[in-house]
Structure formats: C-alpha cells, structure tokens
Symmetry: C2
C-alpha cells in the first residue's frame, strides 16, 4: 500500500456501493452538525476517500450532496412506516412510531437540520422531499385505519397529528431526548386516539373508527 | 393633474405611510398568488404608483419586499394572539383562534405561501420570522394558562398543538375553507383540551391545569 495508490478496499466498491458509502458518511456528519457546516472535505475524510472522488460522485458539490443525503434519509424514514396490515391498529401505530423515533434518535442533529429547514442549503426541492415524507406518513396511517374513502375531517385529523409528531420529535431532540423514547411513543399514540375522539363528535366516519378501536382493546 | 406630475394624494403620504401602502398592496397580491409570481411592477400597479417609487422603498427588490411583507404579516398575526388575561381560559383561546383564522381566511394564498415555505424567495431569514410567530403563539398560550414555570411536558403539548393548528389552517385553505371557520375554531379548542388531558395522565402540573379548566365550565 503506497501513498500514491488507492487502497484495495478503495477499488473494490461498485459505483452504487461507493455512492451509498459517501451518503452514509454525509449522514453521520449531518447527524452532528448543521448542513452548512459540513464540507466535501469533511465527507471525504469521514469516508476515508479523496476529495476529487467525492466531487466525481457529486459534481454539483455541497448542494447536490445535501439533497442526495436528504433523499436517502427520507427513503429510510419512509421505510419506518412499513408495517403489516394485521393485528390491533394502535399496536401497529406504536411499532411504526418506535422505528420512526429510533431513526430520529440516531440521526439527531441531522434530522433536525434536514426537517427544520432554515438551513442555507434549503431549496424548494428539499422542501418537496420533506413534504413527500409527510404525505407518505399520512397515506400509511390512513391505509391502516381501513376506512374506505376517508373524508376531509378524518384526513385533517391524521395530517395534523403527523405534523404534531414531527414537531414533537424536534422538541424532543431539543430537550435532550426527554421523556424516554417509549414514554414519548405511548404518549403520541394516546394523543392520536384523543384527537380522533374529538373529531368523532362531529364526523360519523371517525366515530365508527373510534368505536372499532375501542372494541380492539 | 398632468401626466408628468404626481397626483396631490401621491405627495401627501409620509415615508412610513407610503411604506405601509406598498406593503398592503404586496400583501393583497400575495393573498392571491405565490410570492415568486408577484413582480415589483405588479405591486406598483396595485398601489397606483410608479415602479421607480417601489424600488426607492425596496432597493433590495423582490426579496426585500417579500421579507418586509412577511414581517408585516407576522406582526399582524402576532397581534391576533393579544387577549386580556381575564375570563374563562378556553373562551380566551377561542377568541384568539377566531382572530387568527380570520387572518388566515383573509390572506389565503398569501398565508400559505408565507408559511408553507418552499417558495423561491425563502431564506433562512424568512424561516426565522415564521419561527418567531410560532414562539410568540406558544408564549401567549403559556402565559394565559397561568402556570408558574411550565414544565417540559406541558410546553411540548402546547407547542405541538400550535404546530397542528398551523398545519390545520393550511389544510383548511386547501379544502376550500371547509368546515366553516367557527366549527374549525371550536374543534381546535377541543383538540387542545384533549391533548392536555392526555398529558395530564403523566404530568401532575398539567393534571392540575386540566382540573382548573374543568372547574371553569
């Protein structure tokens, strides 16, 4: 192994593997620092590769890397919502929330920076990636509720709860992850049920859903 | 009145009055179109003044005008939260929400564009203006609750509800302002009480607050 030649491991990765390696390195850095403080040099150092290599994969520089990392995080986040359509509904929601909060916990600063916006790297494209995650979350929850053609009141309740969960996660990170993850998760599930119960007073569809949830327990 | 000379009304306005006139014109335009589709020409036409005059007041061009309009809207929005510290708590909340939703209703597209972000004109500065409104809303609500030193659970509940209200307002505009404003307002107040009630199960401070609210009715 000479200083001039890349290490054998350096050669062995395929284009896709290399890309994933660089994005992982970027996500680790974003987990501890806001995007504007992460340079391509840092990513090269974190991944143990040369700066030109990082530029070859992300010729658009920092902005392209940031967007790719955001998309990769969004994909990972969306995977958290995958849950088999079986068993009690609130237990499914609880499992999905558990995976989501674990993701938030692991990515920490990166998660805040990515979702909070207001970073120098934010563009209309990054907002639409984040909006895509929110939409996916709402669709997942609605699909699990098993309601045919959810009406506007039920949809609004679900979407508002999802926004509240997102805000809650950011506040949780600010509060040094207090209360503990499992308490936060249970509390969020209870908040969901309480929100549905309020909507049920004005919406027969939600009323039937709440009755079905009560029968499950 | 000749074409060369400004009209007498044109002369009479002070610098501050002129500025307010231009911002009002901009807000009217933002109420119907996303910021990126509003030009300084449009603002000049809406206000009935010349384009150079608009540039004199906003030499930074569109971006400066957008930020000034956002700040003006934020100030107006923050005023909605002003409510005397007397009478039943939920009635105060209901009145503040009524003013807030009326603002949302009147500003419509402008409100969405301003708060939704993702517009071409968004910067870290515009996000911090919007965050300032959110913080002000949380502080107002907490001050009305009359709790000395609100703990993390109560603060989290209030901040999550405020985010949910903001999301709900945007969805409401998307849904052609259905349900009617007063129904949405009452539903949001009930959501607030339900969220507090869930938190009360784990937090003695919130439990005492919920008991006090129940005694008010």
């Amino acid at each position: 192994m000479t200083p001039q030649a890349p290490t054998p491991a350096y050669r062995r990765l395929s284009v896709e593997e290399r890309r994933v390696q660089l994005l992982d390195a970027a996500l680790v850095l974003f987990a501890h620092r806001p995007p504007q403080e992460v340079s391509l040099d840092d990513v090269a150092e974190q991944a143990g590769v040369s700066r030109p290599l990082v530029y070859r994969y992300f010729p658009g520089g920092k902005q392209q890397l940031y967007e790719a990392a955001l998309r990769s995080a969004a994909d990972e986040l969306t995977l958290c919502f995958d849950e088999p359509h079986e068993g009690p509904l609130l237990a499914r929601l609880s499992r999905a929330l558990d995976r989501y909060l674990t993701f938030v916990e692991e990515h920490d600063t990166g998660f805040s920076a990515l979702l909070r916006g207001g970073s120098v790297a934010e563009t209309s494209r990054t907002s639409s990636i984040v909006d895509g995650v929110r939409r996916a979350a709402a669709e997942h929850v609605l699909s699990h509720l098993g309601v045919a053609g959810p009406g506007p009141r039920l949809r609004m309740t679900v979407r508002m709860w999802i926004t509240a969960v997102e805000a809650g996660s950011l506040i949780w990170l600010d509060e040094d992850k207090q209360p503990p993850l499992d308490e936060l998760r249970d509390w969020l599930v209870e908040q969901f049920l309480a929100a549905l119960t309020v909507t049920a007073r004005r919406d027969p569809q939600t009323e039937a859903l709440v009755a079905a949830l009560a029968a499950e327990v």
